[in-house]
Amino acid sequence: MGTVHARSLDPLPMQGPELGVQPDDIEAPGIEQEPKQEVLENRNVVVQQVHIDGLGRTKEDLLTYEIADVFRAKSLIDVMKKSHEARQKLLRLGIFRKVEVLIDTSRGEGALPNGLDVTFEVTELRRLTGSYNTMVGNNEGSMVLGLKLPNALGRAEKLTFQFSYGTKETSYGLSFFKPQPGNFERNISLNLYKVMGQFPWSSLRETDRGVSAELTFPMWKTSQTLKWEGVWRELGCLARTPSFAIRKESGHTLKSSLSHAMVIDTRNSSILPRRGGLLRIHQELAGFTGGDVSFLKEDFEIQLNKSLFWDSVLSASLWSGLVLPIGDKPTSIADRFYLGGPTSIRGFSMYSVGPQSEGDYLGGEAYWAGGLHLYTPLPFRPAKGGFGDLFRTHFFLNAGNLCNLNYGEGPKAHLKKLAECVRWSYGLGVLLRLGNIARLELNYCIPMGVQSGDRICDGVQFGAGIRFL
């Protein structure tokens, strides 16, 4: 490690106002040789004071948790590292536009010869910020307008109002988010929303008005979420002449459910990862806390990625789920699973697999879907190191099945049913990664195992989304 100077300590690499922690960011300070100045590298130092300049609305007690570690530093390198970490923590709170760090020797009364003062110069975000963006969901686009109070009560609470207008769904929602001081991953959020969706594959229109309360906390290597949700759901017919099965589902239901989700994500990126795995388990119990819908829903998702030769990645994923009605009422169409389309089993039309009535897909109570992908860079690697890196080619093999279960038959019969008439498809395509959240695909698909009633998309299929099989 080289020599580091106390005085002219340039702030650590400055990012823009973007939030989020980049673990690769902690860089070793530069190596320089300027023998005239005092070398402090190995000297014990004491951090005497930490100042935070530029605070307006933010309460100081919130920040003391974030910067507490700086006081524990024993050497200059340590001070720099800890200050940098503290800076990242401050930025992650999402309440500052800019955070700069200044480390200086202590001055004034009571200053120790090896004392240091650390000053964080922060610029707070405005009281009210607005945003406008476009979003890609699962094969739909939407325009989102948002208003945010980034630091509503002075302790990194966020109050957000969002309006989104999409090709299939229009929604607005108000949400309040509060992290635990000093432990940003442990947070609560309260939401109030209305979503109006149209599902042409089922000739169904759904309007949801709901409230939810959510508690998220880390536990060992997992992230756990506990949630209560109360939703008033209104189902109606989309077309003038839907099938009678859809007509029968029309009307109002009230769902009150408790759910738990657990996620272990060791992937290096959520879109087109090179390594790592994902396990997501979600379970929902509805009807226990009121409402007129009762069911138990379990589903999980596993994804494993492995880097191979020549920058190619082999990825395998498996999804599966089950919804069990509780009591004598059958499950509602809004609670069942749907399969098919460019984000699940490619080569089939969007959610157009499985039980149907007169061309309206009714969803199923159990499903599984698996996918095997080989991602490779574009052939001949055009624009390598730049724009070309956003693209990949892939070869895929997807399979899955969706069915209703008659709960009198026993688990063996259910498994047999799920193993019968498996839909599968294979093909290849090009995909484009959009930021770190979405991806677009253009595939040539060959659907196989098509059952009567399934709608297929033989040949070229376009897909956009955030969650892919």
């Binding site: 189902l235 009678f244 007509r247 029968k248 029309s250 009307g251 109002h252 009230l254 009121g290 007129d292």
Partner: protein, 263 residues
């Protein structure tokens, strides 16, 4: 009236499994819906078309026009008496074929009178009279739903009906004025009926079905006050008209169980 437009594809025969949908009979259905449903049932019985009555809590939302009742015949769904009459006509069943143009116009006018007066009066009493709304209409209407959805839906419905009443100028009416309107309507019907067995002499028409549906439901339904039924009971020929239709078309199957269906 919100008419559901449909185009009959072909004069297919009336299927055996034709179904009529209405809200839950014991706990949910309200006077006005019950009357409309009974009118359609009477009409289909007069035509000799069998229909199975199915009660579903979400019947109102299943209906293409949002109104009770509707029938599901083959793969077609038709709601309310007017469109159902047209629908059966397209299938070759009609009660008003024997009427001349003048009589047909008269029949339509009386049907409009019943819809505008009796049906509106029923809706008014159900939703605009606070006592009836609080004791009968809101609890019954929302009985299939759990809290707090039951309150939301009941008040939403009440608000919707009240807005409609304001739109047609009934908003400022008192209960007494509404009873008076019902009396006048019955007076007109009673005079037209006279001593005939049906409104157009010997054969029943859709008007008879409609009048029967409403009058029979009103006199057999207990509300917070018996005033509405009392007004009708003053017209003896209408009462015997109701009894005649009940005996001719309903007696064999339902006996007198109908009398207690609406508490």
């Amino acid at each position: 009236m919100n008419v559901c437009v449909f185009i009959p594809t072909a004069a297919e025969p009336w299927p055996e499994n034709a179904t009529l949908y209405q809200p839950l009979k014991e706990d949910q259905i309200l006077l006005s819906d019950c009357a409309s449903s009974l009118a359609v049932q009477a009409y289909l019985r007069m035509c000799g078309l069998p229909v199975q009555v199915v009660c579903r809590a979400n019947a109102e939302y299943m209906s293409p026009s949002g109104k009770i009742p509707f029938i599901h015949v083959g793969n077609q769904v038709v709601s309310e008496l007017g469109p159902i009459v047209q629908f059966t006509k397209a299938k070759g069943h009609s009660l008003s074929d024997g009427l001349d143009d003048v009589q047909r116009a008269e029949m339509k006018a009386y049907m409009e009178l019943v819809n505008n007066m009796l049906l509106t009066a029923e809706l008014f009493i159900q939703w605009c009279d606070d006592a009836t709304a609080a004791e009968i209409s809101r609890p019954r209407y929302s009985s299939p739903y759990s809290w707090p959805l039951n309150n939301i839906l009941a008040y939403q419905k009440q608000w919707e009906v009240r807005r409609k009443m304001n739109a047609i100028g009934w908003g400022g009416k008192t209960l007494e004025q509404v009873y008076e309107d019902v009396s006048q309507c019955c007076q007109a019907l009673s005079q037209r009926l006279g001593t005939q067995p049906y409104f157009f002499s010997k054969q029943p028409t859709e008007l008879d079905a409609l009048v029967f549906g409403h009058l029979f439901t009103i006199i057999t339904t207990r509300l917070t006050s018996g005033e509405l039924a009392e007004r009708i009971k003053g017209f003896s020929n209408l009462l015997s008209f109701c009894r005649r239709i009940e005996q001719t078309y309903f007696e064999d199957k339902t006996k007198n169980t109908k009398l207690s269906k609406f508490v």
